[in-house]
């Protein structure tokens, strides 16, 4: 199994079980920005009463669950890691948290028709808001680069009236302005 097949298998498993989800992380920033290699495929899932074991069962024996549950530090979100046995990609399933922006981006997620199936992705604006937050708190240079690339590719399609209030709340406005200012003019 290749890494892209592993991503499709997870999308199909979540779809089969009717688990509300959205793609996030670099899969989402690649979709709106300039693609780069990624070691992780991140999903936000709303499991409700479903157990993680049901997803694992749906995925079949080619996947293994890391028994240690993790946490994403910015929004204190619980995370399950799943590995495809023959692919280097790690699948991260983040449980939908009570964080206000986490909830809002999940509510605003878009269903797009891709690869002959429905795939749920965040809006470009929510990718920017999320990545800026991770960049500031996680101090990962890649997140900042991802934001710059999404801003450059999406250009005048971005709804700034949505982005700026969230950045004010997260304390990332200065970072956003700095990243915007670093983009060369068309």
């Amino acid at each position: 199994m290749t890494s892209d097949e592993a991503v499709i298998a997870v999308i199909d498993a979540l779809g089969s079980l009717a688990v509300p989800y959205l793609l996030t992380g670099s899969l989402a920033s690649n979709f709106y920005g300039i693609p780069r290699a990624t070691q992780d495929a991140d999903f936000v899932v709303h499991l409700e009463k479903l157990k993680i074991s049901a997803i694992l069962q749906q995925l079949g024996p080619r996947f293994r669950l890391d028994p240690q549950m993790g946490f994403e530090t910015v929004t204190a979100t619980a995370r399950y890691s799943i590995r495809a046995l023959t692919a280097p990609l790690e699948i991260e399933l983040y449980l939908l948290s009570d964080d206000e922006h986490d909830r809002e981006r999940f509510r605003r997620r878009r269903r797009i028709a891709l690869l002959g199936r429905s795939v749920w992705v965040p809006t470009a604006e929510d990718v920017i808001v999320t990545k800026l937050r991770w960049s500031l708190q996680g101090r990962r240079p890649k997140d900042r680069d991802d934001v710059r690339n999404v801003l450059a590719v999406q250009a005048d399609r971005i709804d700034w009236d949505y982005v700026y209030p969230w950045c004010d709340r997260h304390g990332t406005r200065e970072l956003l302005d700095h990243v915007r200012g670093s983009i060369p003019p068309p």
Binding site: F31, L114, R139, A152
Partner: protein, 76 residues
């Protein structure tokens, strides 16, 4: 010779143009596909570095290096 800012900006604009031209399916799966390609090149490097290693050992070293990259990214 150091590249000047005009060249850096031009190359960036070209990357933006290519990204806009990519089909959505390709963009969505580009990350995992680029990872697999990188891993094939890394595995070739490991085989060259450890000529006596069998494929299981190559895979083990590769996984170790990927974990190291992931840790470095999270502590950058």
């Amino acid at each position: 010779m150091e590249p000047d800012q005009a060249l850096i900006d031009r190359l960036f604009r070209e990357r933006v143009g290519r990204a806009r031209a990519m089909p959505p399916e390709e963009k969505l799966l580009a990350g995992p596909r680029l990872l697999d390609r990188s891993c094939r090149i890394m595995a070739d490097g490991i085989r060259d570095e450890f000529p006596d290693a069998d494929e299981a050992r190559v895979e083990e070293i590769l996984r170790h290096r990927l974990d190291l990259i992931r840790r470095l990214e999270h502590t950058a």
